[in-house]
């Protein structure tokens, strides 16, 4: 891949998004027992489902973040992370519209004191960045697929 300012900027965005998800994943992976209890506090999911998520979700975030950094299974990682953020956003907005005051706890115990607008703003920003990365990835794949002009 040729170096260009555009590519450099996209890589920076890759790294920022990856860092956010790896940070969020590591924070949660350090204490999955506490995470399971935090999920259970809201009594939305059955206990066993909460425990499963507590063990699985942090690692999914970490692996997808690493995939972004090392550009391995890049598009797969982008789609998983986009799906995760969309699910978090939809669940949080739907809950808020129905009058439930729930923050997604994306950053585990660390984000407990964040307000709903803060959570929403961060999730939207991440979603926009992921969408931009997806678009760039598709554009790059198309450019690579189109035949080189022969002289």
């Amino acid at each position: 891949m040729r170096f260009s300012l555009g590519n450099f900027i996209w890589r920076i965005i890759d790294f920022i998004i990856a860092a956010i998800f790896i940070y969020a994943g590591v924070l949660k992976a350090l204490d999955p027992v506490q995470l399971a209890h935090d999920i259970d506090h809201y009594k939305i999911l059955p206990w066993a489902v909460g425990v499963g998520l507590a063990f699985y979700l942090p690692w999914l975030e970490i692996f997808c973040g690493l995939a972004l950094i090392f550009r391995l299974f890049y598009r797969g990682a982008l789609s998983i992370l986009t799906a995760l953020v969309v699910v978090f956003l939809v669940a949080t907005i739907a809950a808020k519209v129905r009058g439930l005051d729930i923050t997604c706890g994306c950053f585990g115990h660390a984000s407990q004191n964040w307000s709903f607008p803060t959570h929403l703003a961060l999730d939207l920003a991440i979603l926009v960045a992921l969408a931009a990365l997806c678009y760039c990835s598709v554009a790059r794949a198309r450019a690579n697929a189109s035949p080189m002009p022969t002289s």
Binding site: P32, D40, V51, Y56, L60, I62, F73, G76
Partner: protein, 143 residues
């Protein structure tokens, strides 16, 4: 080798399962899939009975529920009157005793909270929560 997008997503999802399962195995004594209380801290009615006189039964329910009925010989210790009730319990405790805390049923949190306080504040060991609570004890002993 190029993988399609669904393949990539599946591989990542599958790879993430490995450390997740590893952690689930590592933490198996600290968390139970059935209930919020870890297995090492839970005891069944039968197990508690086997300990015989070496067991101190603690009732973590409110005063009125204790007054209505309780495990014979159980000591009331709830968080409503913790400071007043704790010395009565400590008066009958000695090293080596097994402490079994119960509240009304499996789903109530009172026993877990009292057990946690005994472990953290009084730094007692051998503190257990009765699986199924008072309901389970009644079923085993009175039906």
């Amino acid at each position: 080798m190029k993988f399609s997008l669904p393949c990539q997503a599946l591989i990542l999802a599958g790879l993430s399962l490995l450390p997740g399962v590893g952690q689930a195995i590592y933490f198996r004594d600290k968390i139970s899939w059935q209930s919020p209380i870890p297995p090492s801290e839970m005891v069944s009615v039968d197990q508690a009975r086997e300990w015989g006189d070496n067991t101190i039964w603690i009732d973590a329910r409110p005063d009125d529920q204790f007054a209505r009925d309780h495990v014979p010989g159980a000591i009331l210790l709830n968080e409503d009157r913790w400071n007043e009730l704790l010395p009565q319990f400590l008066a009958v405790w000695s090293p080596g005793k097994k402490i079994v805390v119960y509240c009304s049923a499996q789903s109530c949190d009172l026993a877990r909270e009292v057990a946690e306080r005994l472990r953290k504040e009084a730094q007692l060991t051998d503190v257990f929560v009765l699986e199924g609570g008072w309901e389970a004890w009644v079923k085993k002993n009175r039906s």
